[in-house]
Each structure stands twice: as structure tokens, then as C-alpha cells.
């Protein structure tokens, strides 16, 4: 059919390679964590994980909004999180977590945030390395001069961290996590602009954890 185009096909944006890039970054972080030498403080004794706990973190993150018309490029920004909860047992901590990523582009301020329950798993009571799993609401907002592009959907999060002891109850916690939130409607000033978008956030940084 003359004119039927196949226009999309002529523009190869190679989104798969970008996703692969994010995956590589996570794998690299895991590898570096595994190779990190334990120092004297880390070997000081059994970590105390009991009762309520609180964690805060700051770092860098790559946001990605993927859709049929999205640029889809991972975009760096600043990330931060707050999480708190209770200790079910020394191997399992349950709580809630709020994550926020932001960046500015030519006057366009963008945010990606997630809020939901989170679980931290330790291999045993002595372990400091932990895995994280969570789920919850994920929202995106880009705004400029009264216009806004927004999305709100459900996402899942996986991550890891390491509680490097500073005192008996305070740890320095390097962390990394990946959040994926599919099936998002991107809305421009409230009206649907694009459906079936996927929001992603890869973040890494340093945190403080009080047990």
C-alpha cells in the first residue's frame, strides 16, 4: 500500500540496548559489592536488628519513561528515599518506603516517585548484605509553565544493600534498586496522551540505617 509507510520501522531507537545498559549497571554494582572487603568494623560482631528501624538514602538514578512516542533514554537525576518499619525477625524486616527521583531540563522539572510496602531479606542473623523487594504506587510528573505530563501506576521494586556498621545501631548502607511500573497512562494536563507506558527507575547511593 503506497503511503502505508512502516514509519516506525525506519527510526531505530534501539531501546533494547538501553535496557541492556541498565541491566549491566546493576550487575556491575552487585559484583563490586560482592568484592568489597570487610573491614574491622564490619567484623565487629553480630548486627543488631530488633524492633523498629529507619533508613534514609541519597544517590543518583536513571529514570526511563518508555512508550510508543517516548524518547526512552535513561536520564540521570538525583534520588533519595526514606523507609521505616519493624523487624519481624533478624532475617526479615518489613516496612514502607518512599523514593523520589528528580531532574530539570530547560525549565522542565521532572519527578518520579514510588510509595509502597517493602521487605528486606538477610540470609541469616549475622548477615549485613540484604535483598529488597517491594511494590506500590509509582508516579511521574513533568511540569513547565502550568502544563504538566503525569502518570500514576503500580510498580514493583527489587534491590540490594549492605549494612556497614558505624555504631552498634547505625549502619552506612550502600544500596541499589530497580523499579519497574508498566501499564501507565501518560496524561497531558489530565487528558490521556499516551497509554501503556512503562516507568523505570534504577538508583544507587548511600544511606543510613538505624536498627
Amino acid at each position: 500500500m503506497a503511503g502505508s509507510g512502516g514509519a516506525r520501522g525506519r527510526f531505530d531507537r534501539d531501546k533494547r540496548s538501553r535496557a541492556a545498559g541498565i541491566g549491566t549497571a546493576v550487575a556491575l554494582w552487585v559484583a563490586l559489592g560482592a568484592l568489597a572487603p570487610e573491614d574491622a568494623a564490619a567484623q565487629a560482631g553480630t548486627p543488631v536488628r530488633d524492633g523498629q528501624w529507619l533508613g534514609v538514602g541519597l544517590g543518583g538514578g536513571l529514570d526511563q519513561v518508555a512508550c510508543g512516542v517516548c524518547a526512552g533514554e535513561p536520564r540521570p537525576g538525583i534520588v533519595g528515599h526514606v523507609r521505616f518499619g519493624g523487624t519481624l525477625n533478624p532475617r526479615l524486616l518489613l516496612g514502607g518506603e518512599f523514593d523520589l527521583w528528580t531532574r530539570g531540563d530547560d525549565g522542565i522539572r521532572q519527578f518520579l516517585a514510588s510509595l509502597g510496602p517493602v521487605a528486606l531479606f538477610y540470609a541469616d542473623a549475622d548477615a549485613r548484605f540484604h535483598l529488597k523487594a517491594g511494590a506500590g504506587a509509582v508516579g511521574f510528573r513533568a511540569a513547565e509553565d502550568g502544563d504538566e505530563l503525569t502518570a500514576l501506576t503500580f510498580g514493583i521494586t527489587g534491590g540490594l544493600g549492605y549494612d556497614h556498621p558505624i555504631t552498634e545501631t547505625l549502619s552506612l548502607t550502600p544500596f541499589a534498586s530497580l523499579t519497574l511500573a508498566p501499564f501507565a497512562d501518560l496524561r497531558f494536563n489530565g487528558d490521556t496522551a499516551v497509554g501503556d507506558a512503562t516507568l523505570g527507575l534504577l538508583q544507587a547511593g548511600l544511606g543510613l540505617t538505624w536498627h
Binding site: 503506497a2 509507510g5 522542565i108 509553565d145 505530563l149 489530565g190
Partner: protein, 428 residues
């Protein structure tokens, strides 16, 4: 030249020989390659000549014959023979046509889909659709521009997230050498776009640029009522035609000693289109608003003249009260007044309309329910899914790219690109 090679598939070189046209046309049709938008292959060549065909004849400045000129032809969707793009100098013989049609469309990434452009097709269909609304435009005013892989923008914050690139191929009849556009707002446009987000259109119609019978003064913004348009029933349109007036040109070009003339500011036309393809019930399937700009046209509006048509080159020789053209194009063309007698149509005149660009602006498509093929009247209205007498087949991707108001729009293309060549002169 690719365009020239296309002619091998076209029905004839000696177009006025109707019998040969019919025979070769049938042969060309039979041998046709992949159907294109402009020649989908469902109508065989009829051997009939369009009104637009054969309208150009050489002037005393031109060295090509009409026969050579008319060999650049193509069969339109209706099977008739139309003039099409050609270079300003014939590569086979080296002769010059004295006019240019802008960028060679075969350089467009979507040319294989679109095919050669049948200049004057919408005008031809208008004859059939409404015999009382005849509008045939001259040959030299057909101007082609294209750009591949154009980075588009999106409204507001969407621009930080969305991305699209388009191949654009556009032809507008934009005559800037005569009085035509002082009153006439109907001009043929061919608009082809293929974009990475799925947005795509191929449209041909008579666009209505501003109100009929008037144009807009660039210095004051006033609407200058000139007279009755042709055809007299020309409907008003969106946008406007901004054309230099004598007073505006004087203020920019005739300057006192020590100043320099502002040819860029004083001699620039801007045709702002605001147009839609609409269904019978008024739904806008496609909305576009490109602006077409021409620097140094060979005319301006002069109400003191019988035909209202002032000539910029004449300003180079004017002097009144110490005011005269100083520097720039006049200085170069006349060697500071040493060279006398350059007329408006002289190839030595720098005021020939070869420097052009256009602003893509927005491309909105609201055709989520389809179909891809629509038939509109030659004015782009009354779109239906079945053809009707005088209708034009339009192709529109099945998409709604309005995205809640996060419109897609494009940048300026060409930026005063010089389409000139040796021998090109007004009328161009």
C-alpha cells in the same frame, strides 16, 4: 538525475503528440513499478493533458525549449499528464529553464512512496468539482522542499519525554513575482510526512491562505483590501499572506546617507497556513499550520501602480530627497549604480525569490478510527470514504497524535536556502 530517469517510466516526452502519449502512457502504466501515492496504479494513463501541462514557454533569457521542459512530466492519479519537478538547468543539454522548483524531491527519504509530484493536480480536480471555481496557477510558482529525519518537538513538558522524527516532503505553489497573491488565497499544497511515532499523511489540496481579496502588510499588520479574488468565490481561510508593501519597503530600503538598506527586513514574504482536512460533518482529520517564507521576492504591493506590482530592482535606481537604496543587493547588482537598465526579469536581478524556508509547526492527526484513505473535495473539505466527482484521494495514518494537547511540531527548514542557479530569473 533521478528525476530524469523517472521519465523513462512516464508515458511521453513529446507530450503534445496525443497519440504517442496514449501509446507510451499505456506502456508506462503497464511497466509501472511499485504503486506510489501520486500514481497508485488504479487509473491507467489517459493520454489527456492537464491544464497545468505546457503552460511554461521560454522567455528571451531562457535557452531550453518548451519541448525539453515538457519532457519533465508525470501521470497524476487521474491518468492525466502533469508537469513535475525539474532542475533549473537541464542536465542532458545544459540549457536553462530560467526558473526553479526548489529542492529535488527525489532526495526525500519518502520519495519512493510518494512518486513524482503532479504539479497542478488539485487545480485540475477543482475544475471537475466546481466548474464555477476555476483556479489555475502558473508553472514557475510550484516550489518543493523536503527534509529527512526532522527532529520534532512537543508542547511544554512533554518535550522532555516524547521524541519523534519525521521525513517531510512539501510542495506549495507560492508565486512571488506577480500580483496574483495580492488577492488570491487559494494555492495548491502537497504535504507528505512520515514520522517515527506513526504519524503520517499524504495530502494534496487547494489551501486557503488568509482571506480572499486581501493580504497583510508586514510593517503595520494591516489587512490590505486589494480587490476581487480569482475565482470570485474563493472561500476565506485561516492564516495570512504577509507581502511587502511600497511604504514598508521604502522604510527599510530607501535610506539616508550613512545607513544601509535592510533587504532582509524589507523584502520578505511570509505565507502562514492554518489548514485542516475535514470530514463531511466537520471533523478535522488533519491540521497543519506551516509558514512559508521567501526572501527577496521580485514584487511588492504598490497601490500607485496600475497592476499594483512594484519591482524591488527598480528601487535600486530610485533616489528622492537623499533617500536611496544603499549597500547589499542593490550595490552588488548595479555596482553602486554603474549598471543601468536591469529589469525585474533580468537574471542579474537578485530579487528573484530563490531564497526560501518554511516553518513546519504543528502536525495534528485525529484519525484513530480510520480509514487510511479518504476522499476530500479539492479544498480539503467534505472528506468521505468513497470517491466522488472531483475528489482527491488523501492518505492519513490511523492514529490520534494530538495526545491530549501535547502537540507535535517541527522547526524551520531550509533557513533561506538558496535555490538559485545560473539563468534563474523572475518570474520564478
Amino acid at each position: 538525475m533521478r528525476q530524469r530517469r523517472e521519465q523513462r517510466f512516464m508515458p511521453l516526452r513529446h507530450a503534445r503528440l496525443a497519440g504517442l502519449a496514449l501509446g507510451l502512457g499505456a506502456l508506462g502504466w503497464a511497466c509501472a513499478r511499485t504503486p506510489t501515492f501520486n500514481n497508485p496504479g488504479d487509473v491507467p494513463p489517459t493520454g489527456e493533458l492537464s491544464v497545468a501541462f505546457g503552460r511554461w514557454t521560454p522567455t528571451g533569457f531562457d535557452t531550453c525549449s518548451q519541448e525539453i521542459h515538457d519532457s519533465y512530466s508525470t501521470v497524476g492519479p487521474d491518468g492525466k499528464l502533469y508537469p513535475t519537478w525539474h532542475p533549473p538547468i537541464d542536465p542532458a543539454t545544459g540549457c536553462n529553464f530560467g526558473h526553479e522548483h526548489g529542492a529535488d524531491p527525489s532526495g526525500s527519504a519518502i520519495y519512493d512512496e510518494i512518486g513524482p509530484l503532479p504539479f497542478g493536480y488539485a487545480n485540475e480536480r477543482l475544475d471537475l468539482y466546481d466548474p464555477g471555481m476555476t483556479r489555475h496557477e502558473d508553472h514557475v510558482g510550484h516550489k518543493v522542499e523536503f527534509e529527512n529525519d526532522v527532529a520534532m518537538s512537543f508542547s511544554g513538558p512533554a518535550d522532555a519525554v516524547f521524541e519523534a522524527r519525521c521525513h517531510l516532503l512539501i510542495k506549495l505553489h507560492q508565486g512571488t513575482h506577480s500580483k496574483d497573491a495580492f488577492t488570491n488565497n487559494m494555492h495548491e499544497i502537497m504535504y507528505h510526512a512520515r514520522c517515527s511515532d506513526g504519524s503520517a499523511v499524504s495530502m494534496i489540496f487547494m489551501t486557503k491562505i488568509g482571506d480572499a481579496g486581501e493580504f497583510v502588510d508586514p510593517c503595520t499588520g494591516n489587512h490590505i483590501d486589494v480587490g476581487t479574488p480569482s475565482p470570485a468565490t474563493s472561500p476565506d481561510g485561516g492564516g495570512k499572506r504577509i507581502i511587502p508593501t511600497r511604504s514598508c519597503v521604502e522604510s527599510q530600503i530607501l535610506v539616508p546617507a550613512g545607513d544601509r538598506s535592510n533587504f532582509n527586513g524589507g523584502l520578505r514574504e511570509r505565507w502562514e497556513i492554518s489548514e485542516q482536512l475535514r470530514t463531511v460533518d466537520g471533523h478535522a482529520l488533519v491540521s497543519i499550520n506551516p509558514y512559508f517564507n521567501v526572501s527577496r521576492p521580485s514584487r511588492f504591493f504598490d497601490p500607485a501602480l496600475g497592476d499594483f506590482t512594484g519591482r524591488p530592482i527598480a528601487l535600486c535606481y530610485e533616489s528622492e530627497g537623499g533617500l536611496r537604496a544603499r549597500g547589499g543587493d542593490c550595490e552588488v547588482a548595479t555596482r553602486e549604480g554603474e549598471i543601468q537598465g536591469i529589469t525585474f526579469d533580468d537574471p542579474r536581478s537578485p530579487f528573484n525569490g530563490v531564497r526560501r524556508d518554511f516553518d513546519v509547526n504543528s502536525l495534528r492527526i485525529a484519525n484513530a478510527d480510520g480509514p487510511e484513505v479518504w476522499y476530500t473535495d479539492p479544498l480539503g473539505r467534505n472528506a468521505r470514504t468513497e470517491p466522488f466527482p472531483g475528489s482527491i484521494r488523501q492518505w492519513i495514518a490511523v492514529i490520534d497524535n494530538r495526545r491530549g494537547g501535547a502537540d507535535m511540531h517541527g522547526p524551520r527548514i531550509g533557513k533561506q536556502k538558496d535555490h538559485g542557479a545560473p539563468g534563474v530569473h523572475p518570474p520564478n
